[in-house]
């Protein structure tokens, strides 16, 4: 049983290939966090197929909502609001979760709250670490986004840079598919890279330029060209070395832009979030780099790193207490910015 003043929020997430629902209490207490992953359906295509994702979201959304309620041990009537991701992401999937969330909020006559997925990733950190001290630099990296953010307090973000082409996770997926290593790309590249050495020089785009943006499409082309050249010369491919060199180029690009921002903004904490934050090589190198500046590095536990709905409920809570509700006419916005 909960105190009367407890605020229970349901979060719903369907922006990529995870169908998720969760209930949080007073923002950061996770009562349930249910994720139905579709990775098995997308694996053979080497990436997320939007139409397949949309179909799966519709199959999973209602059972996932039920499970989130059952796990939290509550009835829908006890919810104070329903929050859902409305962007950025794949529009077909977003619309499934958004429609369900609006329908639930309407049937319950409770507020509906549209949440920015990137904001959700930031709140995921506060679920795991209650002691993060602002101002914060936050690097969110996943299959869908690569964003460098700065914020002075919860709720007030400033976007410093983002990818100009592929997201970091997308680059991992594409190269993994190209090297026939499997899917999802992040874990298989890291595993393969561990057996090799970063001896091939691939480009690190934009790091010497006056920007916090990222770019990975040139790197992808460089890897493909390198492999083709080797094949034309009839030389054996050292896939482990290629994976290690590619991974190092991505890591160097990420760290370079982040450190540039550390120097400029002088933050108290640094946060790493999104699916690619699960990459141990990146974490270790970044941690080492930040030690030079006496800065702690935070990252959420794995199940909060990847897409989930607890982070959406948490973000929704902060909008709820500020009275920042959304109209039931809210549409999905695949290119939503922070």
């Amino acid at each position: 049983m909960f105190e009367k003043e407890d605020v229970l929020i349901m979060g719903i997430e369907s922006s990529c290939d995870e169908t998720a629902a969760a209930v949080t209490r007073n923002g950061l207490d996770v009562l349930s966090n249910v994720v139905a992953s579709q990775v098995d359906w997308h694996r053979k295509f080497g990436g997320v197929v939007p139409e397949i994702a949309s179909r799966k979201h519709l199959e999973f959304i209602n059972p996932v909502i039920n499970e989130a309620l059952a796990e939290a041990g509550i009835e829908t009537g006890e919810l104070d609001a329903v929050a859902a991701t409305y962007g950025p992401g794949l529009v077909g999937g977003l619309l499934v979760g958004l429609s369900a969330a609006k329908a639930l909020a309407y049937a319950l006559d409770k507020p509906f709250i549209g949440v920015n997925h990137i904001a959700g990733h930031i709140y995921a950190n506060f679920i795991t670490h209650r002691d993060i001290e602002p101002p914060v630099l936050c690097l969110t990296i996943s299959g869908g986004h690569t964003d460098l953010l700065y914020f002075k307090e919860l709720g007030q973000y400033k976007i410093l840079g983002r990818t100009r082409d592929d997201a970091a996770g997308e680059a991992f997926d594409k190269i993994a598919r190209f090297l026939k290593l499997g899917y999802p790309g992040g874990p298989v590249i890291e595993e393969t890279a561990a057996r090799g050495e970063a001896v091939i020089s691939f480009p690190r785009a934009l790091i010497d330029e006056d920007t916090y943006d990222f770019s990975f499409s040139g790197l992808k082309t460089a890897v493909i060209n390198y492999v083709h050249n080797q094949q034309q010369r009839g030389e054996d491919l050292d896939v482990a070395n290629i994976a290690a060199s590619f991974q190092q180029a991505v890591i160097d690009s990420l760290i370079a832009q982040l450190i540039k921002a550390v120097k400029e903004f002088d933050p108290t904490s640094v946060i790493l979030s999104g699916g690619v934050a699960a990459n141990r090589t990146l974490r270790e190198q970044l941690k080492g780099e930040l030690e030079k500046y006496n800065l702690p590095l935070y990252y959420p536990e794995l199940k909060l790193c990847t897409d989930n709905a607890a982070m959406i409920a948490a973000a929704g809570y902060y909008q709820y207490i500020n009275g920042n509700y959304s109209p039931l006419s809210l549409n999905a916005d695949p290119n939503l910015k922070l």
């Binding site: 295509f45 397949i52 959304i61 209602n62 077909g92 369900a100 329908a103 049937a107 319950l108």
Partner: protein
Amino acid sequence: MLILGIDTSTETCALGLMNKGELLAELNVQLYRRHSERLIPNIDWLLQEAGIDIGQLTGLAVTIGPGSFTGLRIGLSTVKTFAQELKIPVLGISTLDVLAYMLYRQRAWVVPVLDARRERVYTALYRGGERDIIAAREWPDGVRPVSGLLEELNNLDPEGDFYFVGNGVKTYGELISEAALNTFIEPGVFNLPRGGIVAELGSYYLKRGQADDLDKLKPNYLKRPQAEINYTTSDQ
């Protein structure tokens, strides 16, 4: 029974509210790509005008296609969540049943056609004169080239009368009129699925206990995702 019928499978958002076989309210509006923005506000308007609270509903009916994949998913995600929350039965209805039902009293063949692009239509064939539109069905829902459809109908009954209805008439009316069979094209007002009919069919079949299993209710896409088609036709 108090039934809300919802159709978002085409450019029209069609809503109907039926109480014991009587139409209380209906809303049909061409929205094109604005279903997501307008569906719940329109439902809210309809219920308010009829003085009904959503908690009073005793059943739901929704079109499951054929039609726009995105539109269908918005409709189904909404309706399934209502059904789950309100714990009331739900019935999925073919969009073509809804169109054919408008002409069920014709003593002739009824052919609903929805534009599936590139001179193809989503279609099915019904015997006129029967109110139980599912029982009146001759063909399952399918996608066919317009010319192939006309040829097939001609082979089936060269002397018969065929009534065409649906937005496919707007696009392929000329092809249909010029066919070597007795075709009749309905005036434009019949070519949109109507919310009142979705609700009426919902009432009719739900009363007979024909509710759908919520977990199994999904769109009738009539097409596999393109990526899967490409995958199976490549070097597999």
